[in-house]
């Protein structure tokens, strides 16, 4: 019996100030699948991800979560989603441990992994209790990525997650993504990297079509 895909995007469009930023976007995502959004700068990758998180409202089209529009199942959808944007949302005056604790507490679905263990896995073991303004941008990213370890949300939306991390970090993240997919999760991410993951589909966004009419 066919079941509705985890995430389905139908004819999504977004315009702002009479500029068409996205047009006729169609996507379908099941458990265990990953979509990599590609496109030149300015082609709307961040906009698409923000539309998926419901931070932006589409001008046309629908986003369906398990068959229902996300406006109708807002709480379930947002609880089942994790979004890491361009900025890692790390408060500089808090320690890495406090930041991660906050991120975990504001997530609905988390596993039993402890904060200390998560920080150790991303290589921030000794840094957990000093304020984040002493850490580098790459280390801020790692705090955000530690969140992935504790999250049980099914849908991961990641905007350029490979920025500011080194080669070791890249393989670490790829491994975590594969684990998540194996557990039945799904990922939509934007990146220029070539990823060696199973069930990966690429979705290309072309440059904006220009003014309406």
């Amino acid at each position: 019996m066919p079941h509705s895909p985890l995430l389905k995007v139908e004819s999504l469009a977004f315009e702002r100030d009479d500029n068409c930023l996205l047009e006729n976007v169609n996507l379908s995502l099941n458990s265990g699948e990953i979509v990599q959004i590609e496109g030149a700068n300015g082609s709307g990758k961040t906009t698409l991800l923000r539309l998926l998180t419901s931070a932006l409202e589409p001008s046309a089209g629908k986003i369906l979560y398990n068959g229902s529009q996300i406006a109708d199942c807002r709480y379930q959808y947002l609880s089942d989603m994790l979004y890491i944007g361009h900025q890692p949302a790390v408060k500089l005056t808090l320690t890495a441990e406090e930041n991660l604790r906050w991120m975990v507490n504001s997530s609905a679905k988390t596993n039993q992994l402890s904060i200390a263990q998560a920080l150790a896995e991303v290589g921030l073991a000794g840094y957990s209790d000093i304020p984040c303004y002493t850490l580098s941008a790459g280390q801020h990213r790692r705090v955000a990525l530690a969140r992935l370890l504790i999250s049980e949300a099914a849908l991961w939306y990641l905007d350029e997650p490979f920025t500011a991390i080194d080669k070791q970090g890249v393989s670490f993240l790829e491994a975590r993504l594969q684990e998540h997919l194996n557990r039945g999760g799904a990922v939509v991410l934007s990146s220029h990297q070539d990823l060696g993951l199973n069930n990966l589909r690429k979705y290309s966004l072309s440059a904006p079509t220009g003014q309406t009419q």
Binding site: A55, R74, Y75, Y83, T93, L94
Partner: protein, 227 residues
Amino acid sequence: MANSINSGFHAWLKRDLLLAYRRRGEAASPLVFFVMVSTLIPLGLTPESARLAEVAAGMIWVMALLATLLSVDGLFASDYQDGSLEQLLITPQLLPMPLLGKITAHWLTTGLPLTLVSPLLGLMLSLPASGYLPMICSLALGTACLSLTGAVGAALTVSLRKGGLLLSLLVMPLYMPVIIFGTATVTYAIDGLNWLPPLAILGALFAASVALCPLAAAGGLRITSAN
């Protein structure tokens, strides 16, 4: 860890209190402003007790209003800059509740200290004895209204550069009823009249602000996020 609507409020309240504590110096600047400016008044007007007593109630209120106005700009500024605002907009809880938590934290770190320090200023400006209790009550309610209304202005201007100046312009007219009834509470008491009616109106303004301002601020933040 629950995800009912309430936990949005407490979680963000505690977080913002912790953040304010980490930046104690910055958080205390409205209070310092409040106290320092009070020395300008006798310098600008007169050191005579009698004349100061006439204007004390109004001047303290004006300074409290200005101090709050200066501080309300920072309500969403740092969250906007480090991406926490993005996360706030996609939390499963309904947005007005976390916002109310943030605004409450703002009041606890700005309005409440101002209220508690106001008797000291009353002393320095020769506020008549009957004015102290009404001053504290009216400032407590009034600064809460100011924080709530200021949050709406802050939400509408958070993504603008030099938004602070525009914020003052936007929010000033909305502050005027608060200062009218706040000062009236104190002057009624000083004149020997019943000061509870104007305080009650201030309470009504507070109730309306608590109900409506988080909604307006939530709407304003969603617009800013699209910018």
